[in-house]
Amino acid sequence: MSVAARIAGPDLHETSVAPRSRSRMLALVIALAFAAVGGQLVRLAWQNEDASTIRVSMMSSPANTLARPDIVDRNGRLLATDVQMPSLYADPLLIQDADEAAERLVRLFPQIDVRELRQSLADKSRRFVWVRRGLSPAMAQRVHNLGIPGLLFVDEIRRTYPAGRLGGHILGRVDIDNRGTGGIERYIDEIGASEAAVGARLSARAPVRLSLDLGVMHALDEELAGAMVRYEAAGAAGLVMDVLTGEVVASVSRPGVDPAVYEDALDPSRIDRIAAGTYELGSIMKLVTVAMALEMGRSLDSMVDTAEPLKAGRFTIEDLHPLGRPMSVSEVFIHSSNVGAGQLALSAGAATQKAFLQKLGLWSALKTEVSSGPAPQKPQQIGRIEQITLSFGHGLATTPLQFAAASAALMNGGTRVTPTFMALDGEAPVVRGERVVSARTSALLREVMRRNVTDPAGTGRRADVPGFEVGGKTGTAEMAAKGGYRKKSILASFIGTFPSSEPRYVTLILLFEPKGQDVTGGEITAGRNAAPTTARIIERIAPLLGVPAKSL
């Protein structure tokens, strides 16, 4: 009312102004008022829209920190996840006594260097100094209880690995800013599955599902640990691979690495012996040699001249237990005859042998999600002696993962297998790789693998598990050392497959430098250690993998 009176007021006294222009002015003022109201309405509507999309985040991490997706195993069990943890920083300007503060902090965190901390806390020109990132809530409380002014907390995303050491080699690790620096963690960043942590929400990203099965991993890990004790081995490694899809269901290398422990990854004795180390795998390579012979039209019964030791230059290749007579191809495999394998390679020719190794992917590095893979060590040129040594697994050092992939191709009917650590969609039909050997060759290899286990004289007889039709081949390789080979230190291996009538998985078990025991009759050959270990492993994992047992 008063406003109207004020507007109308002067007009009552000043009659000189025409009533017409007066009412016009009034209309203008009112129009302006409504325009202001309208403007306010629009502003409010805008503001409201902003408010509804505001992301409140307690994660005030530095800009370069990443929020990562969970990593789960093929059955959805958690292997890696992001959690929020308080990180401790200091504002030196607010710290009254840097010496005392540093001393009391170091009492809680003995890993911190006192002098460095004291220096940074005393530097009044800075307002922000990290003290320790990623504290447990209990630790944060203890720091809080110190009651030192100028010590502040901020919540940060930290990576945790609930499964611990299992799968550590494959998972890789992250740095202090939660960025992947190895293994699957780096792969996740490469494919762009992680995002900047600022404004990001926890567990808002689709989990990355690996091909690994935690249960199988554990069974493998435990049996390998048992084998290391039983055979006094210096190390052990093993893997289980799906022969059709190439999915690595389990891969263990003891002693493993804990992704949460930074020092582990730097320790050369903790190297991933499955995918990162290359080894001369020994007689298990005869699987490849026999495959090549079968591809060239030989049958399991065709004879090979093994009566005499093989001579190549100044070397003489002999068998451990020479039969002194010609052998069939299957006998070469079952008795693991070096002479026989050498003869098979020589009759194939160097070019064919190299081409066959190339076709199986054993001649070049194998790239997986976890790493680009080390290049195999191979001979410069393939002469007579190289042909012979290659035929029984010396002179060519590959990763066990590579060899397992080649074996899977030989077992699955003859199509190429690309090893992967990512779970493939269970619903989708399996896409077969290109053909590397004929279906006939694959069938014959399965037969001879099985025979090597069922034959009373077979080197793999201790690998049998009733009901699961295990087939396999032993390998006992002398480990290369400076200036030659060490007779007493060997690499015992066993490539296995089950069920051999229609293989679903291949297993590769490696025991490093096993010693002779009473249980092995003092022997260190793979038939006495790697083969029975394989039996124990398959007996445990076959039910986990849903492989039905055949009636006994």
Partner: protein, 99 residues
Amino acid sequence: MRILNVVAVLLALSSAFLLYGLNYDTRMIERSLHVREREAERARADIAVLRAERAHLARPERIEPLARRLGLEPLSARHLLPGPGLAAGNITTSSTSVR
């Protein structure tokens, strides 16, 4: 004319008050939204920690000794029967077949 003016001014005034009230309410709602989002964020953080802890407690390394102490053992071929065995009705449990 005058009455119209007065009404218009009154209208402008009342809508101004209305707007002020609306604005105030919106701010309140925004504030409570912030609180809720903060709560949700905290709950998410708790869930993440609990999931990690659960997975850590359920890791096979820890479960296996516990299961063995309870008298359980890994499944093996002798616990499994092929299909026809079930039909024949000769089902045995592991404990009966062992003892």
